[in-house]
């Protein structure tokens, strides 16, 4: 295989990756998974209190949101593609700002409540959750604005 065909192959793979989206019915699967995981996480908090289950349900919530985020609309046209792109970029910026600001806000709140205040880093779950929530909410808002 020469270098040109290697580059073509790589370009094709990148194009495939760029266009990758789940079918529309994954929106419903994602929403179901998200709701079930949310209910389960509350039940676990007050009934079972198991760390293993909590992690499992958190994964369920993230996976549910991811399914919603990357599944196609019923009619996927160029306007939707542009709105999706905008929602990804705003989610990225808001996610980074949130990750930077949240530890200091939590620190300030602890100080005001006269608790022992320590600056704590956000966990990976919180960062991913916020990124996905920002993307899904902003995308839906943009779609509503273009109705």
């Amino acid at each position: 295989m020469n270098s040109e065909s290697l580059m073509d192959c790589e370009r094709r793979n990148v194009e495939k990756l760029k266009r990758f989206q789940l079918p529309n019915y994954f929106k419903k699967i994602g929403l179901g998974l998200l709701l079930v995981s949310l209910v389960a996480i509350f039940l676990n908090k007050y009934l079972f209190e198991q760390d293993g289950l909590r992690i499992l349900f958190r994964y369920g919530m993230l996976l549910g949101l991811l399914f919603i985020a990357i599944s196609k609309e019923k009619l996927e046209d160029e306007l939707i593609a542009q709105l999706r792109l905008q929602s990804y970029s705003i989610a990225f910026v808001l996610g980074v700002l949130y990750s930077l600001a949240a530890p200091f806000i939590a620190y300030g709140v602890d100080l005001l409540q006269s608790k022992e205040a320590v600056i704590k880093e956000l966990g990976d779950f919180t960062v991913l959750w916020m990124l996905l929530i920002f993307q899904v909410v902003y995308f839906e808002t943009l779609k509503r604005m273009h109705k």
């Binding site: 009619l75 046209d77 160029e78 306007l79 542009q82 273009h146 109705k147």
Partner: protein, 67 residues
Amino acid sequence: MTNQVKVQRAIHNITQDDLAKEIGVSRQTINSIEKNRYVPSTILALKLSRKFNVTVNELFNLEDADG
């Protein structure tokens, strides 16, 4: 950029929904173009001009603000 899509649609007596179906986009896309909230791609502009049997320049006009 301004456009004559709504005018052309009225001339051809076609609804947003029917136009959207004919050129393979959503009604929201046609509505956003008409309200100047969305600038279509070259492909979509060509499809619209072909549908209305006018040139792209007759359908879309640059404004001073576009530079």
